[in-house]
């Protein structure tokens, strides 16, 4: 029912966006009021990011209204050096990258396999696997917190270990759903023909199916990326060693423990925040265009 709609919307959305651009003229035209509303919304959403950046460059925090505008006399890159002195930004970024990369690798590799199997292969138990995929979306993470901690940290001894960080997120089920949706849209006759010609399933997958669903891979990577890159609670629980902590965790530790003793705590916090936010924001803005123009229909027909 309701919950299984999420991935479908995520996958269907790009194609729909394009249709929508064509049909937009038919609908009631946008009034001035609505446009002001949209602009106001954009301001409310973007201003904190602008303020984050300005704040990260201030020598001393200026919280007056004038402080929202860049003041050449109060600008410095010093905060970035300060935060880097307390928490090693590069180590943090590398750890975040390994954590996120591991999850993306697991999701793309195993997600494509199961997504393809669910969409284009007939085998006993397929219904069970699909049922699993739907149920997983409803598993509440808060219930898993304690048992996973007991298992991974205490029983397997995987604290301060990349595998321990990655394991609970290893295969993103929403991405699996996206893969299945895209593979389903390919004509099954294509695969039947290849099988008659004697191609092995792996070869069919690698040479026929995957090249046709490249947009799905981009979608799945974007979808998967935001999870581990921004995740705080789990890596916070499993990493005590600062050299193993993803940036989100080391920055959070800085905010809650160290910041109070710094000369310009907010400058340093905001500098760290900019470094943590930049990759996700950049990635999303960069792929935004592809995200919209992705149209599975054309790649199947072509």
């Amino acid at each position: 029912m309701a919950l299984d709609n999420v991935p479908r919307t995520a996958a269907g959305e790009p194609a729909q966006a394009k249709q929508n651009e064509a049909s937009v003229g038919k609908r009631a035209h946008l009034g001035v009021g609505s446009f002001i509303l949209l602009a106001l919304g954009a301001f409310v959403f973007l201003f904190p990011f602008y303020y984050m950046f300005i704040g990260s460059l201030q020598t001393s925090p200026d919280t007056s209204v004038a402080g929202a505008f860049p003041n050449p006399a109060n600008l410095t890159p010093e905060n970035y050096a300060n935060i880097n002195g307390s928490i090693n930004l590069l180590t943090g970024l590398a750890n975040s990258g390994i954590f996120t990369g591991g999850v993306i690798l697991g999701t793309v590799l195993f997600g494509i396999l199961v997504g393809y199997a669910l969409a284009q292969m007939q085998f006993r138990g397929r219904g069970v696997v699909f049922g699993m995929l739907l149920l997983v979306q409803m598993v509440p993470f808060q219930l898993l917190l304690i048992p996973l901690y007991v298992m991974i940290v205490r029983d397997y001894g995987l604290s301060d270990n990349y595998l321990g960080m990655i394991l609970p997120f290893a295969i993103n089920s929403t991405a699996v759903f996206v893969f299945r949706q895209y593979f389903l849209q390919l004509p099954s006759t294509l695969f039947e023909a290849a099988r008659i010609d004697g191609a092995s399933e792996l070869r069919i997958l690698w040479q026929i199916a995957i090249p046709l669903v490249r947009p799905a891979i981009v979608t799945a990577i974007l979808l998967t990326f935001i999870g581990p890159w921004n995740e705080f609670l789990w890596p916070f629980l499993v990493t005590k060693d600062a050299a193993m902590q993803p940036l989100a965790v080391s920055l959070a530790n800085y905010i809650s423990n160290i910041a109070a003793t710094a000369a310009n705590p907010f400058g340093a916090i905001l500098a760290g925040a900019c470094v943590l936010a930049a990759p996700a924001v950049a990635l999303f803005i960069f792929f935004q265009r592809q995200f919209i123009s992705t149209n599975i229909g054309s790649s199947v027909k072509g």
């Binding site: 038919k26 409310v44 990011f49 393809y116 199997a117 397929r126 007991v150 921004n230 609670l233």
Partner: protein, 319 residues
């Protein structure tokens, strides 16, 4: 029959069989036409069983026993204690307070999320200029780490922050995040802002399913924009509204990072402590995983009940 699950040559034989179920051999393949599908699904199935299904049962087991943390391989006695941990959890005033807090959070967050995301998605759906710009700017908070944006919210909402400078004499005292009446509403506002972009996208997709003819005939009949909005748009996206309500509630019940960082550990005086924050505090900091697991079970049951009621209320007659 070929050996199922084995790769290489036998596979192709089974493929040929599978191609025509009514083919040369009448015997239907025991594991289906492409038994290799089982192998393809195996990693995912193992992942789900090992990392999700087993811990789910384990959580219930832990909550029913007196459970201690041990070093790997150490055996200790963990006696069955029935519902003792649940009694401990439910009679704990801190826990009761955290459920009230999350209630306050949901009462503010959910209606605000549903209302604002629908209104903004509706406007976004009709805008022609700057469409991509608006889409991206709404989505940016959602794709950014909460830890990062918490930093700037702390800066904005501190005692002498920009928000209070703008408000001047109207600024609350004590300030937002250290005021026991305002801490939870501020957290709720923060989460609404952070998540809104995702829900706008959900609504945007749902809005595509409303046929244009409905709007055309309404405008022919003289229905103005408000009438169209209430009589076509709102009923047209009802199933999306159910989804947004449920997802916002589930996300809200998982609240941890914000009370941990924004209000410095559920402060002031537990006024913004969330159940998941208490799970962390009781389970991992204080070493009572059994109590924390029981709290997790109670929380999940609570969320389940709330979402069932919401589904009835928002879904209306259709469900």
């Amino acid at each position: 029959m070929t050996r199922p699950g084995s790769t290489g040559a036998p596979l192709q034989v089974s493929n040929l069989e599978g191609k025509g179920p009514k083919g040369q051999r009448k015997r239907p393949a025991l594991l289906g036409a492409q038994p290799l599908g089982l192998l393809f699904s195996a990693p995912y199935v193992l992942y789900v069983l090992g990392v999700l299904a087993f811990p789910l049962g384990y959580a219930v087991y832990i909550s029913l026993h007196q459970f201690y943390f041990t070093a790997p391989g150490v055996q200790v006695d963990r006696p069955f204690v029935g519902l003792d941990n649940y009694v401990t959890v439910l009679s704990d005033p801190q826990v009761q307070r955290s459920f009230i807090n999350i209630g306050i959070f949901l009462v503010i967050n959910v209606p605000l999320t549903v209302g604002l995301s629908l209104v903004l998605a509706n406007a976004l759906n009709r805008v022609q200029k700057l469409r991509t710009f608006f889409r991206v700017s709404y989505y940016v908070p959602y794709v950014t780490a909460s830890v990062a944006v918490v930093g700037v919210w702390l800066f904005l909402f501190q005692q002498n922050g920009l928000v209070n400078s703008l408000l001047g004499p109207l600024a609350p005292n004590p300030s937002w995040l250290v005021n026991s009446w305002l801490a939870m509403p501020t957290v709720a506002l923060y989460v609404t802002w952070k998540q809104l972009g995702f829900f706008i996208l959900l609504y945007l997709a749902a809005l595509q399913n409303i046929p244009d003819e409905l709007y055309e005939s309404a405008s022919v009949d003289g229905g103005n924009k408000w009438i169209q909005f209430w009589n076509i748009t709102v009923p047209g996206v009802r199933s999306a509204s159910v989804l947004v309500t449920l997802l916002a509630t589930i996300t809200g019940a998982n609240l941890f990072t914000e009370p941990y960082l924004l209000t410095g550990g559920g402060g002031p005086d537990g006024a913004s402590a969330s159940p998941v924050f208490l799970m962390y505090q009781k389970g991992i900091l204080q070493g009572n995983p059994d109590v924390a697991a029981a709290l997790g079970v109670v929380l999940v049951i609570g969320v389940l009940l709330v979402t069932l009621i919401q589904k009835r209320l928002v879904g209306g007659k259709e469900d």
